[in-house]
Amino acid sequence: MYETTYHRPSSVDEAAALFAKGKEAKYLAGGHTLLPVMKQRLASPSDVIDLGKIKDLVGIEMSGDALTIKAATTYFDILQSADAKKAIPAIVHLTSVLGDPQVRYRGTIGGSIANNDPAADFPAAVLALGATVKTNKRSIAGDGFFKGLFSTALEDGEIITAISFPIPARAGYSKMRHPASRFALTGVFVVKTKAGDVRVAATGASQNGVMRVPAVEAALKANWSAGALDNVTISTDGLLADIHGSSAYRANLIKVMAQRAVTAAG
């Protein structure tokens, strides 16, 4: 690791000010990606600004029609949340199959979606549920937030403060774990909204990161059941292929995971 300056601000404004002052500053929101690449000397931020101690960024709130999870809330806290379990149990399930206990104690939802790893779990939930990403500057619709591999709509220095999930009629998440990394080899989040719309997002499968799956959405909109997907074909175009899964295998997983997610959603 190259030398860096570590900061632990107590407010979002202070964090943003530190970022603006730093030459090549980075926010730390869990650190499962940033710290390993720093240790490998593949990243050398001048300043590391830890968002984990900002009280305003931690907590889970329920309103009538939305579950709001503040950005620096850890996965562990989401797992413990009675509100989350009641409002959107699929999110709690997703959290329970994310990483391992050490990761869940330290990792945060904001860190996950800001990083937008193409195999991360939470982007699938944000996209499928049509969540709103709130930042220190604005609100961004989930559909417009993810911009391809490790890329988002966030501007330089912009800080996610919370993610607001509309409470769906039904939702489910099913994930095939990558054998080595335990990220999603493919994970699919299915949602039936209270308005009767169907939204499906897949992670781990596409070369462009998390994506909607229109073929599955159409079939489920016509018939919300696992069996409705039996004859759906997922194109391999644009899907990832590596030593752990061909694109044909991932296309199959999108369908199979969608079916299992629907079954789990009930």
């Binding site: 000397r41 095939m176 054998p179 899964g245 061909s246 044909a248 295998y249 199959n252």
Partner: protein, 779 residues
């Protein structure tokens, strides 16, 4: 005190320090004036070094020295060697290319060291290493066996034409061919034995200290065999003479074979400590471990088995290409030859066997012994053939095996090995009972009704352990004898130190070796200490690998104990005014049989050291040594059966049950044996389902971290059901055979046999990842 002797599941003495963080590994050692080494490594798999510019690095803060491959050559430091000579079928010797500890001219695998920076701190060394400018001219790459042997392949070493190191055969070719011609049925398989990365928990490390006043070196290193390290470093590398080099292998966090060998980094640390006249430390990180620890396996094999009309095996024919990587590591040549092809008879009476093994160079990390070393590959060939044959011949796989089992001993196979004892039917019976083999068809039908694919797979393995009779291995090309030594020191107060040439890096010797001594004398194991891993303390030893420590190392202790006891009995008889023949040892006392007269061990020891009243002519003291050279290999064997279920939607395999019935001969500590089997099974299952080192065509290791290389985790593995069927080994005084490698040798074939049974086709390579299984099912 029999409760702590042989056969007792005593809690491991060493665990208190390990689980409280008090272990002392190489990286924990602090020496005044320590400097830190960081290696500059080639990013290319094959390249010519056009120039190395070290000027900028030399001027960086804290830098003590920057050393290059050319300086190693200039200092006449010897090349790394392979210590087992293999002769090709045309009578020529193996073609060993030069392996300098740092490349002066050509790099042949990605990660090979070209220079080293020594600095006051680890970070300064790393900073300066980044300032070393190496100008490479990339050369064409052969990154696997097929690429290395095809016409026009890049030539790695001038010595080895066509990249072939040797083309070696064993067995009778003509008789084997004739048996195939006369066969009623022939079964044939193409097999890939996947390449593995050992991944010991503790990466390799070295601290080298040079004392210029005494011209003496000390090397603290992560070694499974510190004496062999000293021997090789002094005899071949021209760095230090043997009596001027102390090698210490303190607590070592796992080896699995990978810490047998002498590596460039340890050599360079030793050499550099004199160059810079400061103690030099190098601790490898995980990335360096992936790139530079010797890998394991990596075979391509075509295997055929011939059967007569009664389904008796009449012949086995095998052709194997083995990938030895870019350079020949210390014992690499022996692994795909004498440790592999000599086990191809498996547990079966096979009258004719012929095997040809062609070892090749590739632009990859060197390959050498890894847990099982050759024997897992052999077992996999034989047991995959047996299972495939049963399906092809439409007979029960257990019955086909039983029909062909060797049942009379000793049994001379056509491939050198003479099995001394065994009861293969007993192990198979035990495993079949444990898994309810008879009930499997009903379970499979039930699973099918629920939409699941269920399969069962058997593997009846045999291994040659207790490595090894020195004369035998010498005649086969080994550069060393493989005996073991021991010394028993009874202190004046009656406590005991056992000095052994074996080395414990997870095996629990501090407990099991003490159990042997405690049991013989009837004293608690707390009265016995085991000393190992320091060439200044232990006179000599060959170290720990090949499941040899009990069969060879403990047998040496046994012999030394016999000498100690004989002398102690003489002293006791003299003190008790009794006949030596009447003295028996019980509960830590020397008793005159049939009387109530006795003298306790501490009093005998004290008498030996005060020497006030010893028998006439007896030397004072109570300390004896022994060397033990085994008369034969030992042959642990067993039957593993696993039952699995495959999710046809994802291709994921789940275990329903895994049973292991092993015959290890006498068990010293059944709990430790169980742990050894669990670890071995984890690695065997890891090879079958999870692990695989993959290079791309440019020779870059694609699986160079745990993000891509799938190490087995607890939730990947079932709860194992173990049992033991024991035939005592007649070849050593303890009747032990060895247990360290069995799981890794037997498990992989059982898993692949079960999955191929479940999915109904045989086209499946290891690791049987969900992706591969799904493709095997769905095309």
């Amino acid at each position: 005190m029999g409760v702590e002797g042989i056969g007792a599941s005593v809690v491991r003495k060493e665990d208190r320090r390990f689980i409280t963080g008090r272990g002392r590994y190489v990286d924990d050692i602090k020496i005044v004036g320590l400097t830190h080494a960081h290696f500059v490594r080639s990013p290319h798999a094959h390249a010519k070094i056009k120039s190395i510019d070290i000027a900028a690095a030399k001027g960086m803060p804290g830098v003590v020295g920057v050393l290059t491959g050319q300086q190693i050559v200039d200092d006449k430091v010897g090349n790394l060697i392979c210590g087992w000579a293999i002769t090709s079928k045309d009578g020529t010797g193996m073609k060993m290319g030069a392996w300098p500890a740092m490349a002066p001219e050509i790099v042949r695998f990605a990660g090979q060291a070209v220079a080293v920076v020594i600095a006051e701190t680890k970070n300064q060394a790393r900073d300066a290493a980044e300032a070393v400018v190496v100008d490479y001219e990339e050369l064409p790459v052969a990154s696997d066996i097929r690429a290395a042997i095809k016409p026009g392949a890049p030539q790695l070493h001038p010595e080895a034409a066509g990249n072939v190191i040797y083309d070696w055969t064993i067995g009778e070719e003509a008789a084997t061919d004739a048996a195939f011609k006369a066969a009623a049925n022939v079964v044939s398989l193409d097999i890939t034995n996947n390449r593995l990365v050992p991944n010991a928990m503790e990466p390799r490390a070295a601290i080298a200290e040079y004392n210029d006043a005494e011209e003496h070196f000390t090397l603290y290193t992560t070694s499974q065999n510190p004496h062999v390290a000293r021997l090789v470093l002094s005899a071949f590398y021209n760095i230090a003479q043997e009596h001027k080099l102390r090698v210490v292998a303190p607590d070592v966090g796992g080896g699995f074979g990978s810490k047998i060998f002498i590596y460039p980094e340890e050599m360079v640390a030793l050499w550099a400590s004199k160059k810079v006249n400061r103690p030099v430390k190098w601790t490898g990180d995980r990335s360096e471990a992936f790139l530079t620890d010797a890998h394991g396996r990596d075979h391509l094999t075509k295997a055929e088995m011939a059967f007569d009309k009664d389904n008796k095996v009449t012949a086995l024919r095998v052709k194997t290409y083995a990938n030895l990587g870019a350079y020949m590591s210390l014992f690499s040549s022996s692994v795909p030859t004498y440790l592999y092809a000599t086990l191809l008879s498996g547990q079966y009476n096979i009258p004719n066997i012929f095997a040809e093994v062609i070892s090749v160079y590739t632009n990859t990390t060197p390959v050498d012994a890894y847990r099982g070393a050759g024997r897992p590959e052999a077992s996999f060939v034989v047991e995959r053939l047996m299972e495939t044959a049963a399906r092809q011949l439409k007979v029960d796989p257990a019955e086909l095996r039983r029909k062909n089992f060797i049942t009379t001993f000793p049994h001379q196979t056509p491939v050198i090995m003479a099995y001394d004892v065994g009861d293969f039917g007993a192990s198979l019976d035990s495993a079949m009972k444990a898994i309810d083999y008879a009930g499997f068809p009903a379970r499979k039908a039930k699973a099918k009704a629920e939409g699941k694919l269920r399969g069962i797979g058997i593997s009846c393995y045999i291994e040659a352990c207790g490595i090894a009779p020195s004369k035998a291995v010498g005649s086969l090309g080994a550069g060393v004898g493989l005996w073991e030594s021991a010394e028993v020191r009874v202190n004046p107060v009656g406590t005991i130190e056992i000095l052994t040439g074996s080395h414990s890096h997870g095996q629990g010797h501090e407990t099991t070796f003490a159990q042997l001594v405690a049991g013989r004398l009837g004293i608690p194991i707390s009265q016995v200490s085991i000393v190992h891993g320091d060439t200044d303390k232990v006179q000599f030893g060959m170290g720990t690998y090949g499941s040899r420590s009990a069969a060879v190392g403990m047998s040496a202790i046994f012999k030394a104990m016999e000498k100690v006891e004989a002398k102690a009995k003489k002293i006791a008889a003299h003190q008790l005014e009794a006949s030596e023949a009447d003295i028996v040892i019980e509960n830590g006392e020397f008793k005159v049989t049939g009387t109530d007269k006795s003298i306790a061990l501490p009093m005998v020891a004290l008498a030996a050291y005060t020497a006030h009243n010893l028998p006439d002519g007896m030397e004072p003291g109570l300390k004896e040594g022994a060397f033990y050279d085994p008369t034969n290999f030992t042959f642990p064997a067993g039957a593993y059966i696993c039952e699995i279920e495959v999710d046809s939607g994802t291709g994921k395999t789940s275990f329903v049950n895994f049973v292991a019935a092993d015959d290890f001969g006498t068990l010293i500590n059944p709990m430790i044996v169980e742990g050894q089997v669990h670890g071995g099974l984890a690695q065997g299952i890891g090879q079958a389902l999870l692990e695989g080192a993959v290079y791309d065509s440019s020779g870059q290791l694609m699986t160079a971290s745990f993000m891509d290389y799938t190490m087995p985790r607890a939730d990947d593995l079932p709860s194992f059901k173990l049992s033991h069927t024991t035939t005592e080994c007649p070849g050593n005084p303890l009747g032990v055979k060895g247990c360290g490698e069995a799981g890794a040798i037997g498990a992989s074939a059982a898993v692949i046999n079960a999955i191929t049974d479940a999915i109904g086709n045989n086209k499946l390579e290891m690791p049987a990842s969900p992706d591969r299984v799904w493709h095997a099912i769905h095309g």
